[in-house]
Symmetry: C2
Subunit: 212 residues, 2 copies
């Protein structure tokens, strides 16, 4: 689907001239399309044209909104993290004990991965593997997103430690990092195997050996 550019009355410069203006919301559309395409194919297999086509936008419009494919990828990481935070609500259902919440959270992630047929993986892990040596900018954004995710898991684990459901010895933050990395590795293996086995093993070992 290609939507042609539209002529708009310039709303800022009050010269009254009519000129071609970027489509309102096109930046967001390019960002969403870029995120979806990067998530599906990775960074280097995605061209700027793939993104503009996915957004139904003229190719030339891309650089009105993003300096480079890399700049869009960095923004896509932020947007992905923002979307991921929606699921954090499961971590905060205060009527449930912390470990039960954490388990529900990961069960919900597993369900999403299985429903999608193991097609996408985690954008953070994918970009971390593909771009850590290529893009300091994307690497930085991925690091920020991982840090935010770690904090959210650490809060719940810390609660569980205070409730006596998880032993001390290893700080909540280190346990959260470890669990997150285990999840990321299990997800890659699940995609390789096209099978949920690695994700089920993740749940089993996490809740029978680590968070005890």
């Amino acid at each position: 689907m290609t939507r042609p550019g539209v002529l708009w009355l310039d709303p800022v410069e009050t010269t009254g001239h009519i000129r071609a203006m970027p489509r309102p919301g096109l930046r967001e559309e390019l960002l969403s399309a870029g995120l979806a395409t990067f998530h599906e194919r990775g960074f280097n297999a995605t061209s700027v044209q793939d993104i503009t086509e996915a957004a139904g936008a003229p190719k030339g419009s891309f650089y009105n909104h993003f300096e480079s494919k890399e700049a869009l990828a960095a923004e896509a990481v932020r947007k992905y993290a923002e979307r991921g935070r929606a699921r954090f609500a499961l971590l905060r259902e205060e009527k449930l004990p912390p470990l039960r919440r954490l388990r529900k959270y990961f069960e919900s992630l597993i369900q999403a991965v299985v429903s999608a047929g193991f097609t996408h993986g985690c954008l953070l892990g994918n970009f971390g593997a593909e771009l850590s040596s290529q893009s300091p900018l994307v690497r930085k954004r991925v690091g920020e997103a991982f840090a935010g995710w770690t904090d959210a898991l650490a809060d719940v684990i810390s609660e569980a430690q205070k409730a006596g459901d998880v032993s001390g010895g290893v700080p909540a933050k280190a346990l959260a990092e470890f669990v997150l990395h285990s999840w990321e590795g299990a997800l890659v293996r699940a995609r390789v195997e096209q099978d949920r086995g690695p994700l089920d093993t993740f749940l089993k070992v996490t809740f029978s050996r680590i968070l005890v």
Copy 2:
């Protein structure tokens, strides 16, 4: 460095004709160069020309030896796994107890990652993240390599369970898979952070919570 093709007396067909023959060993050189380049940059950021240039071979020579870049990538996974097996000797030092061997093994991997400045990651994890949805062939080879690695770790963990150093409840193979995935995830995070912290946390939690 470009080395021109060399004229060889055909050693197999005993016609005595002189004709242009592939450089002996060129296939191996292309494979090694491909492995190194894929490991450094990933699959989609590497062109056939990058590989022939790295091997100092004429571009046209590539397709004498490999059907496609994907075919070389699949072979590169096998070669990578073969090289990785050299380190398995550490897992078999029978004078040491099994968990001590396993710890030495991962310490040695960490040392290699740190010495290389967090530049490369694990080819299996990288390809698993980048290509699982793109190349069934590479995915299959990565799966085989992960399976062999899992078996090697499971053997040691099983020994440790028999010696009473690791409790039962979870089978050795599931523990091995979990530990391997945790390693893979920690390695991606270490590359994102350019810091060994995630690898040290991996060691700490693995040997204080999982393999106990």
